[in-house]
């Protein structure tokens, strides 16, 4: 028995009771206030935390570290869970929080080396580029176009989603009590495949429009700006809309606000463009989950506790190793399986290249 999971369905925080609804309401309100108002600005100033975003970053880091410790007590029995949780705490504290602050002290713009385009959607906006030294800009490009795909190809998107990323960091730690609330239905899975790829497309289009319009504008008077004035006209609104919808509503307000009702990975599963990008690579990469044939007792622990809503049991009881684009490699399915059926592995397997694992939702 996983004593850390005992009574999950009896605890009012984690069983969608009215307390969960109240929590969700409070989180939604908090995110609306911080994104769209200056409500927290004076509070942040009083606490000497800089602006409201300084305060937010501090809170965020405290949550990841605090609940990271809780997570370690709950699931830290195996090296994989220990290492990845320490890693996620480290990247939050050092890369997302401390380093940018230190850089600012030395009058360099704060830069998070663990935050890549298109999750960091403004990485290539001309305004960002103008404010950063060249090495950072180069790193942004190498990061997004070489580091991310290569690491994902070799190790799966888990190297980022459950070892490095801040959004994943909060989900894995503060969100751990809600992981079983992710929907395992076929319906949710169909929705996810549309929503996440649409956001990825939207992210690419937004960046392309903003960058193109800048190029055209900088060449005022030549034939391009005459032929395509539309770019300059829509660049502002498109950028603004992306920031509002994806940057604020989906990743913040809903992404965290719905933790107590829909699980901790609402953003990562349905909307994150970087997850979508890495998911596509993951299907062709080495990472997969190996299933021991005919050992599964169909108990459902794996599916229940998969925060990405993957119905792992379906693969396990059909004796199918699988690669799912959504899988963030948290390893919890393998961790909670009482029969040791599952194993996360990086393994060359040319036979199954690009194969989404034979089954999707199979029935007897």
């Amino acid at each position: 028995m996983q004593t850390g999971l005992l009574n999950t369905y009896q605890k009012s925080v984690s069983n969608r009771s009215y307390i969960a609804w109240v929590m969700s309401g409070a989180l939604l309100t908090f995110y609306v206030l911080i994104y769209f108002t200056d409500f927290f600005t004076p509070i942040a100033a009083q606490l000497h935390l800089g602006g409201k975003w300084g305060m937010y970053g501090t809170l965020y880091t405290i949550f990841i570290v605090g609940f990271g410790i809780v997570f370690l007590r709950r699931h830290g029995q195996t090296p994989y869970q220990r290492l990845r949780t320490l890693s996620i705490m480290f990247f939050q504290v050092v890369f997302a929080f401390a380093l940018p602050h230190v850089m600012e002290m030395f009058d360099t713009p704060g830069y998070n080396f663990a935050y890549f385009w298109p999750l960091n959607y403004s990485a290539f906006y001309p305004s960002t580029i103008a404010s950063q030294p060249l090495p950072f800009i180069l790193y942004s490009m190498i990061g997004a176009f070489i580091l991310v795909p290569v690491l994902t190809f070799f190790y799966g998107k888990r190297w980022y989603c459950s070892w490095v990323c801040g959004c994943g960091g909060l989900a894995e730690t503060a969100g751990d009590s809600f992981r079983h609330l992710s929907s395992k239905t076929t319906k949710a899975w169909r929705f996810e495949r549309y929503s996440i790829h649409i956001v990825l497309l939207f992210a690419v289009v937004t960046t392309v429009i903003v960058v193109t319009s800048f190029i055209f504008e900088s060449r005022t008077g030549d034939e391009f700006s005459v032929v395509y004035p539309i770019f300059s006209k829509i660049a502002g609104p498109v950028k603004g809309f992306y920031g509002f919808l994806v940057g604020a509503i989906l990743s913040g307000v809903l992404g965290v606000g719905l933790y107590p009702l829909m699980g901790s990975r609402v953003w990562c599963r349905f909307f994150c463009p970087l997850a979508a990008f890495m998911g596509l690579i993951q299907k062709f990469g080495r990472f997969r989950i190996t299933v021991k044939d005919e050992m599964c007792i169909s108990c459902g622990n794996c599916s229940t506790y998969c925060e990405m809503g993957i119905d792992v049991r379906q693969y396990a009881q059909n004796n199918q190793d699988f690669k799912r684009a959504a899988c963030v490699g948290c390893g919890i399915c393998a961790h909670v399986c009482p029969r040791g059926v599952l194993k996360l592995e990086n393994k060359w397997d040319f036979a199954s290249w690009g194969d989404a694992a034979g089954v999707e939702h199979v029935d007897v």
């Binding site: 369905y9 090296p79 050992m295 459902g300 029969r339 007897v364």
Partner: protein, 424 residues
């Protein structure tokens, strides 16, 4: 055609799937007295502990029956009239069939101890048992588990975790001797005790005592009275075939439905699969295979054969034995035949009492490996089974043993510390 299946368990549902896959037209009726939806019996303990909800332990989405067009009957079959191809429910309703599969599973084996009918005495096998136990656990303070098997130790664990002072009473002088030698049995006993639960070995039940119709304790053969307001009997399960007594379907001595290698009973058009059958084991003995995966396999084969023509029919092939379980935090994998007491068999054994891991390999005098018993870490039974089937030499197996390790990534490397035996 009308296919009727008694049992909405793993054998029944897999048989239905096997039929539906090749026949989208025929009527398929699944009868169960226990539940509307197929659920995983193996996961009852997790529902008790609030680790999963009722719906979480259902292996398929609830629209399964609508989507695959299975009719469902909630009711208990009272008798089967095999001559007339009809069965009768306890409600009096009659269902006729062209082809019948019996997949009625097991019932707990019970001994008629005095006091066995007292309130607070029960089992942990069915969904109704789960509901009963959940209710009992709200008020129980001291519990006793009688029997030292797999269901027994799961019951011990969940009651202990529910904060009830629980003692397991085991007749033998070490835990689960049909599977474990003394060192492994002792390791598990020790582990359980370290958790704060109690396991009493070499203790036999004499009678159950109570007051005003409710249980108050258990008397042992050596004269002790153990106090308890809840007692779970987990001394094994037997085929649930009472309702077949007068059906003309041939049953074994302990009630198992006698089937041939196609899983057909002695009556034409009546088949059987899962816990309720008695099949011939590798050593020639006929007895039930009370396992999840064998239930699934039997269901698939029986369903296939119900539809197939005589010449297409498949044999149900029993595989080399393997299984897994978990005793509190200690995971267990076995493959092949350990503790089957073959003439001349010997063991290679190593353990790490701090990490609570052990490995036992049984081999024959010529060195051929016949079985593995692995505790405390994860093992891939597939290579282990293969090595048994290939009759690999013990020395070779020890050199390659690490390849069968299935622990999570970053786990410490497995090492063979005990020397390989010298063969004479």
């Amino acid at each position: 055609m009308h296919y009727v299946i008694i049992g909405n368990g793993v054998a029944g549902i897999n048989a239905a799937g096997s039929v539906r896959m090749r026949d989208s037209e025929s009527k398929i009726t699944i009868i169960s007295s226990e539940s509307d939806h197929f659920f995983s019996r193996t996961a009852l303990m997790y529902v008790f502990c609030g680790q999963m909800s009722a719906e979480d332990v259902e292996p398929y989405e609830r629209d399964l029956y609508a989507r695959t067009n299975y009719d469902r009957v909630r009711g208990r079959v009272a008798s089967v009239d095999s001559g007339a191809n009809k069965l009768t429910l306890t409600s009096g309703e009659v269902v006729s069939f062209d082809s019948l599969l019996i997949a009625s599973g097991s019932v707990p084996f019970m001994v008629d101890y005095p006091g066995i009918d007292l309130d607070g005495v029960g089992n942990f096998v069915t969904w109704q048992n789960l509901e009963w136990l959940t209710e009992q656990a709200k008020t129980a303070r001291k519990a006793i588990i009688v029997g030292g098997g797999l269901i027994g130790i799961e019951s011990l664990e969940i009651l202990h975790l529910a904060g009830i002072k629980t003692t397991m009473v085991v007749r033998e002088d070490s835990f689960w001797p049909i599977a474990f030698s003394k060192p492994e049995g002792d390791m598990i006993t020790e582990h359980v005790r370290n958790h704060g639960a109690e396991m009493m070995l070499a203790t036999e039940t004499d009678e159950i005592v109570g007051e005003n119709g409710s249980v108050t304790g258990l008397k042992t053969k050596d004269g002790q009275t153990l106090e308890a307001d809840l007692i779970i009997f987990a001394i094994g399960v037997i085929p649930q075939t009472e309702f077949l007594k007068d059906s003309g379907i041939e049953l074994s001595e302990r009630g198992g439905i006698i089937v041939d290698e196609k899983l057909a009973t002695n009556v034409p058009d009546i088949w059987a699969a899962g816990d309720c059958t008695a099949v011939v084991w590798f050593n020639g003995v006929r007895r039930p295979e009370q396992l999840w995966y064998t239930g699934r396999d039997q269901g698939k084969v029986a369903g296939f054969n119900m539809l197939a023509t005589e010449s297409e029919r498949k044999d149900y092939k029993r595989k080399t034995f393997y299984n897994s379980a978990k005793f509190f935090d200690i995971e267990y994998t076995t493959a092949g035949y350990v503790n089957f007491n073959f003439d001349g068999e010997r063991d290679w054994y190593q353990c790490d009492s701090i990490k609570e891991t052990s490995q036992r390999i049984t081999y024959m005098p010529d060195g051929a490996v016949i079985g593995f018993n692995m505790l405390g870490s994860r093992w891939d039974h597939r290579p282990l089974v293969k090595w048994v089937e290939e009759k690999r030499d013990i020395k070779w197996v020890l050199e390659h043993l690490h390849e069968a390790c299935f622990d999570e990534e970053f786990s410490p490397k497995f090492k063979v510390t005990e020397p390989a035996p010298a063969l004479t």
